[in-house]
Each structure stands twice: as C-alpha cells, then as structure tokens.
Symmetry: C2
Subunit: 411 residues, 2 copies
C-alpha cells in the first residue's frame, strides 16, 4: 500500500489525566463497533427514546426534552444559547474562566445585549452577587458554567434557578465538565437548560452533547420554530418570534426530530448515540451516589498526593471540581518539560492551562473511567519521578503514600 | 439490572439500501473501538494531518484547507455557508430538491439576500442557465447541491467554478451524497468549498463532515476571523470583515485549530476522526476509478432490475446519481406497506421520499460498502417477492436476472 495512505489507527495506550478527554470506558469503545441502523427504523427510534429516558436520570430531571446534539460539547452550548437568545435579547453571563468567556463569544455572535458578572479566574459567585446583577440588568437570560476546567472551580447553583424565576429570567448552565462526576441537579436547581459532553466524567468520547430543556424553555424555543420548506405539512406550524439563527443547532427542530413527529433534520449520528447511551447505562448501573463518591475519592487522593510532593494547589478547596485539580508549577520548573517527560517516559498526559493561567498551573484530571485508585497512584508516582529529574526537591515516596491514604478517607 | 437502564446495544443486521445512512464498512466499525488520545498529543495531531492529506485525495484537490467539521453532513453545509456568507451578502442558490431548499433555509437564517434558480424536482441546470442567473443577480456567492438524494439527480458541475470566477463569485457545492461514489472533482470544477459526509458513499457512520476550502475562500473567511478572548495572544489577529455568526461552525477557527497554530476550539471528536480517516484509506486502497466503476455497476444493476420488474424509474437517465435510484410506486400499491414487508421479512431498508415526491417514489440506494453485487441482487429479489405479495403483477425472476446481467455490462 502506498505511504500516502498511512497505516491503520494504532494509538498508544496513554493514560489521559488532563482536563479531558479522558480514556473511554472499554464497554463504550466496543459499543461503537456496532452496526448502524436507518434513522427512522423502529429499533433506532427506540434507542433514541431510551437515550432520552437515560439522560433524564443523568441530568436528575423530569424534563421531557432531554436529548443529544450531534457535535462536541461546544455544539450543545451554542445550541442552547442560539435557541434561547434572540438578537437584541439581554443576557447576563457569569464570567469566571475561559468557558465563561466562550458564553460571551457565542452570545456576541448572536447579537445579544451582553452583561457580565466578571470574576477573577478561580473565584465563584454568591447567590447575592447574582441576584444583584439580575436586579441591575434585568436580563431575559442568565448563563453560567457549572464547572470551568480552565479554573478547576465549581460554581454553586443551589437556588439559582429559583432566583432566575423570581425575575422571569430563563437560565442556562454548561455542565460539560461535571456531568457524570458530581450531582448535576437540573430540577433541584431549577435551571432551564443544562448541556453536557461525553468526554469528561461520562467516560465517553468527544462528539455528542447531551442537553436537557425545561418545558418553559421549550415553549420559548418553539415560539421561534421555523419548519424547513421541504418538510412543511398542514400539521407543522411556525412560531411567531424571530427565527433561530442556526439551522443545525436549532433546538426547536432537534426537539421535533426527537419527538413522535420525527421531523427530519440531520441524520442522527448513530455511533455517537450508541456511545452516549452506553455511557449513561454504565453511570446508572454504578449508581449516582457511588459514582460521585468515587470522583470525590479521586480528587482527595490527587490533592493529598500533590500536596505531599510539596506542590501548592490552585484555587479554593471549598469550590474545587472533584474531577480536575489545578496545581501551581513550582518556581524554576518548566511546565512543558514535565508534561513531555510524563508523556514520553510514563505515557501519562496531564494538562496545561489557558489565558492568565497559561504556563502557571498544570491541570490534573481523574474523571469518568479514569477516576480510579490505581490511575491516580500511577500519576502521582510518575509526577514524583519527573519532578525529581527536573531538579525539584521533594520527599520521595510521600505523594503516593498520601494519595493512597486519602483515597480511603471519609469525605 | 433495573429495566429502566435497558439492555446493551444489539441492532438487527439490517441491510440499509435507502438514501443513507448505509451499512458501515467493518474496518471502520472496528477502528471506532480504538482508544482515544488527548487532543494535542503528537499522535493525535499526526492523525489530523494525515486525515487532511487523505481527504485531499478524496476531494481530488490540492487545497491545503481540507479538514473535518465535527457534526453530521448538515454541520458541514452550515459551516461553509455561515463562514462564506455575511448578513446582506447576495447568494445565488440552485434550488432543485430538498437539499437545495436547505441551502436557502440556512442562508435565510444568516440574513443573506437570496436569489434562486428554481427547477422542478428531477431537473438539473445547464451552465447557460447558471451564467444567465449570475449575470442577472450579480451575487457574491453561488451555492448548489451536487447530488440531491431527494430527487436522485446529479447536477453537472464541469465549468461552473470557472463561470463563477469569471463573475468574481465564490462557489460552494454540497457533495454529501456523492463523495466516494463518483468523481467529486473539486479542483477540476474550480468550486471553492465542497463539503461531504461519511454516511453515504464513504461507507462510514453519520457524524463527521469532510470539508475542502480553496485558498481564495480561506482568505475571505480569514478576513472574518475573530479569535476567542480566552485564547488571544500577540500572534493572533482578527480580520476586518463582519464576524462569523456561529462560533462552533466558524471555519476560520476550525482552520486555525487544524493548522500548526493548533488554536483550541472544540475538542476534536477522536472516534469520528478515526472513522473518517479509515473511510478515506479504504477508498484510496480500492482506487478512485475502481470505486466509481463499482458504484456505476450497482446503479446499472438496480435500474435494470427495477425495470425488469415492470417498474418505472423517476427522473432522467442522463443525470441519475450512481448510488441512489428513484422509482415510482405503482398505482394501487402502498409504498409504506412494501417498505414494512421489506424490513420485516427481509431485514432490508429502502427509502421513502420528501416533499412533492412523498408517497410517490421509493429511493433505493447502493452506496459505499453496500454497492455490492450480492446486496443489489438480494434487494431486487426481495422487492419482487414483496410486490407480488402486495398484488402487483410482475414476471417472476426477471428482476434478479436483469440485475445480474447489468452488473457485468460495459458502462
């Protein structure tokens, strides 16, 4: 075979302990090798309905409209915003990291009137701060990021949906990085739209974005419905509000496709649907409390291990994500040299950082299938060896010992 | 395990002989079970570069900017249009089927000034018609569909790129349904942007959209570049023209992500990249002329088989797609009853139709991995039995005989 055709896919068995993607659960990998189905075959639409039921449990919600957007997590974020936000709509965005900035970027392209609560990277907002901003700006929409991997902090969302309803505001949260790793309590929070991804704590591959939509948000989105000309029949009706700016990411059309109407839109990405469905099944079999507890144990172990190596953690313990930990790169040590040795000598990937934290912190993840005792211990042990080789003085063996103890400690 | 978790994915081994998706090549299915990589790991970026090189051969182009959009084929279409077309830009659209209408739907949401060449479903445009419309409307962009599965016709594109350049028009063609099944001669046509999908003649799953972009189209798109705030550095520069309306489908950002800069955008859908790469490798190993010839043989066999059963084909022989064939549903026969029997008794899916052809034609595909002699013969044989059972009078055995003879005939 000519060289220009290259050889078959044969990736190294690398341990992905960065901010995601993480290694995919082997059951999900195997599921993706299953034959595809026609998009309106009854078995396919059954799988779609089952996937909706599974993700209601994952998102801890009764929202009928719980489905997949066919793209990476970012596609889910844009689908939520472009479907909610009209040109000129006022949106209040909680901006506390790179993915908060992304919300503004997307809203700006929609032509929204953007107001922000701006925090230092590493800070979170209190309900009071949010309420004050809601009163000051009187937005139609409030948007925030639940766990922002750029800062490794979690924004508490208890009571935020209620606050938004008090001021007649539709609410959105990006839970890409937390879904499957800690409680994403859609209904308890009262957040109208929550979106996620597979490639973080769900233990799946990037490429599918689970989304859940409250009835009142769905009503708002359907008021912007515009049925494609090639599909119009007497039973399809357009809404009265401005058309959604994207066709591909139009949640009105996507909800119609996932409904009994099965109104054709895209051709559902069968393989990614299989992956999403299997990821949810694995999560529910494990049990939500058990899964969240496993992520907390991994986080405790990572934090304790890093501290025992003499490293300083980034951000506030009280708001730390349970699946990715920021750690300051010590004075005189090259962050990239460490990452390269980790990859080349140990086949372990840890993460770099963005924006104001670029070159200043590493981000070490233990999420989904990788939130395992052995993988955390391997990572801390490898980091010890690498840091020592790079000239950092540390107590040999202390990191792994501390991580092992912390894993089994009570949370 | 509770019932609410459902059972593992276990699709029937159904033969998908509709307008797509078709059955996926087993090598592609197996490739998708490979472990994922970190998005900036050197092996991952190597795979991305190799995928670019492979798709240059698939698209028959030297375009440096040849890459994947992470979504179904429709995401590729919207990425091309939203990146090319500014609000108020004049776009001329060739409207001759459902996917021509889709181009208008997308352009309308962008706020374009839309002009159309409107044809009956089943007709194609001549270069003269296109030139007249270019002169009349003086658009900035011309957009058309190469093979529209809704009509099963191919729009000839020889000379169209040259015509567009003559009038300083950027050109776009949607080759979702033809890529991998017949020549998509990007450079010979001189079309600026061509997009495809995997789930038709490429023999892959839905969920990835290969796209190729000429240098002049890339220059235009970069003139609309807007780098995300969280990623700005001194070396990144914004363009001067209006920002692209979508972030997720912004080809300027996607080109930057696939370039040496590796500017972070989405997290590349690793598994779908593996699938796209393997689909291209399989195509190139077979050889483009051999692959196109195989699709023509399948088309001859389908057409001859259907005619020998006493059925009448839809549309013009001269412009028939070589991978999907429209056929009139005979008087007194229920199209849906036939499709149901095909599926239930033979595990074969054939396609229904949209818009003015809904309920009037079936669409029978033989594409990608399914453009095989045995699969065509099985389909024609099954259709004979089903039609007879539904009361249609036909010469028993004639269809399969004719298909077998036609497969081996000279084109």
């Amino acid at each position: 075979m000519p060289d220009t055709f290259f050889s078959q896919i044969n990736p190294p068995q690398r341990l992905l302990m960065g901010p995601g993607p993480a290694n995919v659960h082997p059951r999900i990998l195997r599921t993706m090798a299953a034959d595809v189905l026609g998009q309106f075959d009854p078995e396919m639409t059954d799988y779609m309905n089952q996937t909706m039921a599974l993700y209601r449990q994952v998102f801890m919600t009764r929202n009928r409209q719980t489905l997949l957007v066919n793209g990476t997590a970012r596609a889910g974020i844009e689908a939520a915003l472009v479907s909610l936000v009209e040109p000129g709509s006022k949106i209040l965005i909680l901006n506390a990291g790179r993915f908060g900035l992304l919300l503004s970027e997307i809203a700006a392209r929609i032509g929204a009137d953007i107001r922000t609560i701006d925090l230092e990277w590493g800070e979170v907002a209190t309900p009071d701060m949010i309420e004050k901003a809601l009163i000051e700006h009187r937005p139609q929409i409030f948007a925030c990021v639940h766990g922002d991997t750029s800062t490794t902090m979690v924004q508490p969302l208890d009571g935020i949906g209620e606050l938004c309803r008090k001021y007649s505001v539709l609410s959105y949260a990006d839970a890409t990085a937390t879904l499957g790793g800690m409680a994403v309590s859609t209904d308890a929070w009262g957040i109208d739209i929550v979106t996620g991804g597979l490639q973080k704590c769900m233990g799946g591959p990037p490429g599918s974005a689970p989304v859940t939509i409250s009835d009142r948000a769905a009503d708002h989105i359907f008021s912007r419905r515009h049925v494609e000309q090639g599909l119009r029949t007497d039973t399809t009706a357009d809404g009265t509000r401005p058309r959604i700016a994207s066709n591909y990411l139009d949640l009105a059309m996507i909800m119609d496709y996932w409904s009994e109407k099965r109104l054709n839109h895209h051709t559902e990405s069968t393989t990614m649907l299989y992956a999403a469905r299997e990821a949810a099944r694995i999560m529910l079999e494990e049990g939500l409390p058990e899964r969240f507890s496993r992520h907390r144990a991994a986080s405790r172990a990572v934090c304790a291990g890093l501290r025992a190596l003499g490293l300083r953690l980034f951000g506030q313990d009280a708001h730390r994500m349970p699946n990715v930990t920021g750690v300051w790169i010590p004075e005189g040590i090259s962050g990239d040299a460490v990452r390269q040795r980790m990859r080349e000598d140990f086949e372990i990937e840890i993460g770099t950082a963005f924006g104001p934290l670029a070159g200043r912190i590493w981000r070490i993840g233990a999420m989904g299938f990788n939130a395992q005792k052995a993988k955390v211990l391997q990572t801390i042990g490898a980091l010890e060896t690498v840091l020592a080789a790079e000239g950092f003085t540390l107590p040999r063996g202390a990191g792994v010992d501390a991580a092992l103890t912390a894993w089994s400690a009570q949370a």
